[in-house]
Symmetry: C3
Subunit: 310 residues, 3 copies
């Protein structure tokens, strides 16, 4: 490419940055960095499941040194990134006092570090649920090293604490990283109880205002989604408001079921595979597909043998 | 392992390469390299959304230098890879004059670089659609940094320009990279209008000959697929031909809907979740599941409370 | 963060490791390392599809040197990792003689290396099926470089040999890596015949005891799963036992179909999209959705035009 051609391309593209609002990040070096967030998340995972990556041998003699090293790095980097995220929000809101951002960031990271022991406790119950619920699981170690559902829920439990501290952007970057690596899309706003198990997981979607109790088991392709969005006078959807399901304790939701809207699925209920639920389900009930069946027939024959799916 | 055992394995495996047609790449050092293509794609994304990775701070003072650096690298590497891809096609077709490959490669890359300002314009409309369509979205920056649908459509808009220039292999490597990172599988041949928004996205499949208008919104698990493939006398499917849906302007397609074959979904239509559509839908109509319902019942009881899904 | 605050966090988290069973890897430096397993898997892929990554040019002059280099590295590293995996199982079982682990590891890796020529032969049939079955496929090279289904089945065929040799953890780490990169979740226990093709693939789940014949074609979102799990007196699922479908030769299973339990789908059958099958399907039959349809209607109108989905 000749120099004048290069200049032509540069000038043409550069011109599109000038009047641009929204899709460039020029002069905004205070945005949080995606790669840095992922690095921080992976350090936190080393604290949550010490030694599981096998990157460095962890012994009872060196563990406190390793912890000290990781936690001080997480603290420094996550405060820094959180401050950038808060300042970014300030720039959007305009009526915001940016001098508070650093202090808010420190408070949020302190809260997360204080919660890590609790997060470990609850993740133990999640790993235990996976072991109890999957006939193919042979050991806890196998589950932590290889089950995508564990990566997804561990990431969620960390991201959710930052979400509760009103840190913007960062929880969502964490949850999308888990989505990318596991196919499981849990919005950091969702509230999820102990003993939670997602099997296989690809295609699972759990919305921002979903609330999930204890001992809930979910299979691949399950959506806990919103039904429709009220719109403002400009036709834009109105942000905020409870719009996703509440799942009570001991509920099992089989593959590809879709539950939409702010409905309650009562405790001890079972939601069958491929069902589509927009109404509440009382405690102890089953939701199953009706009327639908699969006909098995010889090509050319007129009368199928029909089997209802229940 | 002893030396003679190693030799035994090497000889046995090496022997399988000798008569091999199709699954080895020996002596074909002119194939495009997957890793190089991904590197090029990520450089193009830096041009499209400058600064979004946070890898290097971008300011109005340095942006033209950064652009010049990236574009000259993209030009050199992409021409090189495109030439390899074209020469690969020549080897398969046999009746092809390989001397034209370099010129065709240059023309294709020139076309793509010329289109980048337009691609940025249309991607702005896509980001805007995501913001308007998702109550959980808080800022444009959040969408670009964390929404898989934006990565998928941005990659597609780049790959599609190379597809139109008849560059083999490379557009498909790009689209499969987006598929791998987002769970969204858009064939580079698909034609997609402005203001396009894919929410969540895992499991979305959009086929090679699909045509999508403006203001179309698609949820996770939606398939725009082919119904069946005509076969030749050897029982092999015949390549080519329009075999995927046409979606007109302002259509919304909810989660897990499957639309198959070369049918038209008319403007302003809504396709309900989990529907299975093989017939045209006239403009302004809704397609909803009929007869199917979900029964909610107490185990042991005989008469289910049935609710139709509409 | 002040030093005493850091110490406080370290002590609190460290305390949770003390009484911990299951979710830490302290003092267990004999566990296999996930990153090492993936490195080994990628080396094996270089043997299976030589030169496909384009990382190093492969010619008929250097191929034996490259093979020798790769195979001796795979042998050393995989024996080492397999021994660690076997010793891990010994620690769990307790009644196990750890002195046999190294020998068992060597035998398993010898078996895998001996099988590599056969794995190549059968993968050729898989690539051929993809070419014959997808109108969009332009060359064998395109399929190997960019089709996720090929990565998934190639990984499976390798992991399955280690599974048959009773190597724990490692086959599952390999299959979950393929799941992560392709969205296709094949348990290493599944038995899969020649000429196997998975198109698109996101959301496919194939269970541990599934058996699949030759010439089988599967589309995105298909589940070959278990129906329910018998439980022991403690309410835990009982491990082991055939609980997934058997798919005979020449069967095609369209997108989103769910087949559950230890049922036989007879040869030459076709399973329609979105069907839900829990009963055997005799040879040469079709399973299609019945009763379900999609109504296309003008909003406000009372009488929908109904179309059954068959």
């Amino acid at each position: 490419m000749k120099n004048n051609e290069l200049k032509k391309y540069v000038d043409k593209i550069s011109a599109t940055y000038k009047d641009d609002k929204g899709i460039n990040f020029i002069d905004v070096n205070n945005l949080p960095q995606r790669e840095k967030i992922i690095e921080i998340l992976e350090l936190i995972m080393e604290v949550v499941f010490p030694g599981y990556t096998g990157k460095r041998p962890v012994t009872k003699w060196n563990i406190n040194y390793i912890l000290g090293d990781i936690i001080s790095q997480v603290y420094t980097d996550l405060v820094d990134q959180s401050e950038k995220a808060l300042q970014h929000l300030c720039r959007i809101k305009k009526d915001c006092d940016r001098s508070q951002c650093r202090q808010m960031a420190q408070k949020a990271v302190d809260h997360l570090l204080n919660e890590l022991p609790n997060i470990r406790e609850i993740l133990k119950t999640d790993v235990n649920s996976a072991y109890d619920g999957d006939p193919a699981a042979q050991s806890f170690e196998e589950i932590i090293i290889s089950y995508p559902g564990i990566i997804a829920i561990a990431t969620h439990r960390v991201a959710h604490e930052l979400y509760k501290s009103n840190i913007p952007l960062i929880p969502r970057i964490m949850s999308e990283y888990a989505h990318k690596t596991t196919g499981i899309d849990i919005h950091p706003g969702a509230e999820i109880g102990a003993n939670f198990f997602i099997d296989h997981g690809t295609g699972v979607v759990i919305g921002e205002t979903a609330v999930i109790g204890s001992n809930v088991k979910i299979y691949q392709g399950v959506t806990l989604g919103a039904l429709s969005f009220p719109k403002d006078e400009r036709g834009r959807v109105i942000k905020g408001g409870k719009r996703h399901p509440t799942i009570e304790d001991n509920v099992t939701i089989y593959a590809e079921a879709t539950i939409l809207g702010d409905v309650v699925i009562g405790r001890d209920s079972v939601i069958g595979g491929n069902t589509w639920v927009k109404d509440p389900v009382p405690a102890g009930h089953r939701a199953v597909i009706t009327h639908t069946g699969t006909a098995i027939r010889k090509p050319g024959s007129k009368k199928p043998r029909t089997k209802n799916n229940e």
